[in-house]
Subunit: 147 residues, 2 copies
Amino acid sequence: MSTELRTRNVSKFFRHNGEFDWNHISPADYKPGDDSWKGVSRRVFIGETGESTRFHLRYFEVEKGGYTTLEQHQHEHVVTVLRGRGLAVVGCKEFELGFGDVLYVSPNDPHQFRNDNHDEPFGFLCVVNAERDRPRQADMAFCPICE
Amino acid sequence: MSTELRTRNVSKFFRHNGEFDWNHISPADYKPGDDSWKGVSRRVFIGETGESTRFHLRYFEVEKGGYTTLEQHQHEHVVTVLRGRGLAVVGCKEFELGFGDVLYVSPNDPHQFRNDNHDEPFGFLCVVNAERDRPRQADMAFCPICE
């Protein structure tokens, strides 16, 4: 697939090379540098390169000891685990996640993804709306799940 | 998770039981009976039970000898393979798919998913817009990919 095709709204194939690496996709930092997260990479498959979907498909990996920002926002997350194991914190609840598990994080639920102690990276697909609000630091004093 | 919670817009966890079966999700037929498809099951994780996403997440499995309808439509597909191997026909092209491969089918490209000769079911996630047009039989006389 040429760079020109890569950025058009045409059918596209991203072959998985067997080590959680894909043709035509490079990993990037999860976010610009701040100390709210650690050891997380981000790949965007669909949504930022000419596609017309109303959603984006991304893949995140969290290395041992890493974690995403503890945050909340109006838009939803739909996560499916592809690699390793990790922890999802959603409000006052914690879920141990492994291959194939599917987690829906509903609007405004505070959440974080962690890999506290697994040598294998914790890797998951995450689908979000294309149009979405900016995340904000989570207010853990109010948990919409247990209130 | 209670049935009442299952249908509300709250955070939800679908645990994978290790055999491509999940808590709280039952497989259904791919479509009402017609002879355009064979041996395909469908699970809807997100989008039809109270969630507010602008997309739906589904999981399809195609048994040996099975195939989805050869069809086309304005809405896009984003497919990620979780299980087995199979073939994607997209216009005049064919892609052999296996674990982790990601395929984007752009608007109006004719397409079909097949498992011609693998004993293991060919299983994949498929994300689509929540608001979408109805599929129609594919017109293979015109292939937008090679035209």
